[in-house]
Amino acid sequence: MSLLIKGAALFGTETADLLVVDGRIAAVGADAASQAPSGTETLDADGLVALPGLVDLHTHLRQPGREDAETVLTGSQAAAVGGYTAVLAMANTTPVTDTAEAALRVWELGREAGLVDVQPVGAVTKGLAGEELAELGLMARSAAQVRVFSDDGKCVHDARVMRRALEYAKAFGGVVSQHSQDPVLAGPSACCHEGEVSGRLGLPGWPGIAEEVIVARDVMLAKHTGSRIHVAHVSSAGSIEVIRWAKAQGIDVTCEVTPHHLILTTDLLTGYDPVFKVNPPLRPTEDVMALREALADGTIDAVATDHAPHARHDKEHAFVDAAFGMLGLETALGVVRTAMDDEFDWNDIARVMSRTPARIAGLEEHGGQLAPGEAAHVTLVDPTATVTVDRAASVSLSRNNPWHGHELTSRVVHTVFGGKVTVRDGALA
């Protein structure tokens, strides 16, 4: 089985052909075509940019438990359409992914779907209850080789439990991805950013400080234990300050930002539309600007979608009662390009959306340099296209898309996963 990707601009620079044989890149360059075995399929990539397949550190696939909102298959389809070749499936399913068996089930469903690598995230604590450690080691030693652990949706609030998790995960190179939200400071009904908008709208807010105190505590715990900590979906300028300081101290901390936190602001809540209800909440412009700056200067390591599909009826409640979260996989690349138009070239995009997330998650087959010998995970993008997002056109089972009607820069044209074309001309192959 072989595939010739013709005429793509690698990382947006030199144009070359890529020959893929048996799922791996066999040759790159002008003479790649001459080495193609007979019967090689051709993928026209004229005018397109080639990137290593995108890697999402933070995806909610809802299976098991809420297959009406998303399944591993439909989530994989959405990922492929968005240019992804690997996603990390968060543990807050029903039941929770807190055992090796549960992790293996998700991993196998991913293999059956066959569109992206679905790498399960293991829970840090049993049932996400924040009290007892889940079987981190058994999950790590299973065939699913879990490396990222997170109680996402909930913060590991008990400092002692967090300390133990950080220490314990060192034995197998694991990393804890923390949903940083002090539940006491934020309050039980917090549903948006605390500030002028929440004050006017009469919505219970949670302030940036409730994120910052946990980030500050966790980097100190990581320093103390000599462990690796990953801050999920960082959202406040104050957290960035803390992370910048921690990195300067040599503390082993990485962090991610979501595409939506790079553009959308808390002002969008004035209509009480639950499509904009997300956790952490949309913050004011000052935070958005600080996040972009931190992504540009490398303080923020990666972009992660926090793709959070919800059935329609779970969003059609009063704002405080509606579910948190928004779709993200299909639009992420366009949003990041739109937000980072001035700062980023294609190598930067590849760094924050593929190479670094792959490294953080320990996915060695992903985030490569598009060089011979590497697994053939390739995303091909039309850099000049603009797309007006239509939520009805999504392949996700859900429709909670905050980008509906937005015009985004660039378009994922083809996605190649392990040498197999999963998306062709923007549609599932």
Partner: protein
């Protein structure tokens, strides 16, 4: 005017128009036969997701005196109960043919969301901590009758501002009508972002009741919910009363022409001393009868004649 969701929806002219109609309705209340035929054949549903006997009765009587068919639905708890969304609940009721929907909900923004889903005219009868526009209209109407005009008059609004929809609607309504407004609360009960908000909306803030009262032309006390004490917003009821209550001493220092308002129900002895509630200058019972008149006026403007079909 299709809905009344927020004071923000109303121009000064519209507010004065409602007041003029309310004044006529006030006269009707003094008649022996109180029925007007204005809303004959019109169905109004009072949909209350949160208990409030006084607001619900006020809307119910207002509707009935205008000859509307009024139906009360207590929808308490059903919005968050599993399976049915708020949209499902409301659409089911509206599918029966409803012209006016008076909605009270414990969640901020609920009335605005509902208005986006249904064909009926929606009146916000209180949504969480957000707004209570008819309360603000009846308060301003009451004060305007007492003071002649609100232009340049200083109104002190005192109490738990953070959790108060009455405050949020009133501050808009009073400033719109030209009043100077100072809101007073302990820092823990000031809404987040009140600094920039008060600047853009043109009201003043203070932590000190005794500094504000001497220049007040009207005093509006807000209800303090006793459960706020367990939330750590202030240490004890006693301390709250000393700091922010309209006590007997503060009443004695107040000019006898200064009207005292309270949206009710009152915590006598906590935010308002019994003497103050029952004082000759108290406008609290006026507020209740004004409430009826203003709600009749609002229902009339939304549902009667050409405006409702426009």
């Amino acid at each position: 005017m299709k809905h009344l969701l927020s004071i923000d929806d109303l121009s000064v002219d519209q507010i004065q128009e409602i007041f003029a109609t309310a004044s006529d309705m006030h006269d009707v209340q003094r008649r022996s036969v109180k029925k007007l035929p204005a809303l004959r054949g019109v169905t109004v549903v009072n949909m209350f997701f949160e208990d409030s006997t006084r607001t619900r009765s006020s809307f119910e009587i207002a509707g009935k005196w205008l000859s509307a068919d009024v139906i009360n639905i207590s929808a308490k708890g059903s919005s968050t109960s599993k399976g049915e969304s708020l949209r499902d609940t409301v659409m089911t009721v509206c599918a029966m043919g409803v012209d006016g929907l008076v909605i009270r909900h414990q969640a901020s923004g609920a009335a605005q969301q509902v208005a986006g889903w249904v064909d009926a005219s929606v009146v916000n009868a209180g949504d969480g901590m957000h707004e209570h526009p008819t309360q603000a209209l009846l308060d301003a109407y009451t004060l305007q009758r007492r003071l002649g005009s609100l232009e340049g008059r200083h109104v002190a609004v005192i109490g738990d501002l953070t959790h108060s929809r009455v405050f949020r609607s009133n501050v808009q309504c009073l400033t719109k009508l030209g009043a100077e407004v100072t809101v007073v609360a302990p820092p823990t009960l000031m809404p987040s972002g009140v600094g920039p908000w008060s600047e853009s909306a043109g009201f003043a803030t203070s932590y000190d009741v005794d500094e504000v009262l001497p220049t007040a032309d009207a005093v509006m006390m807000l209800r303090v919910q006793r459960e706020r004490m367990s939330g750590g917003y202030f240490p004890t009821a006693r301390e709250y009363t000393v700091g922010y209550g309209l006590t007997r001493d503060r009443l004695a220092a107040l000019h006898p022409d200064v009207p005292i308002c309270h949206p009710g129900p009152m915590n006598r002895g906590l935010e308002i001393a019994a003497d103050a509630a029952d004082a000759a200058q108290s406008a609290i019972l006026d507020q209740v009868s004004a409430g009826l008149a203003v709600r009749m006026a609002v229902l009339y403007h939304l549902l009667a004649g050409e405006e409702s079909s426009a």
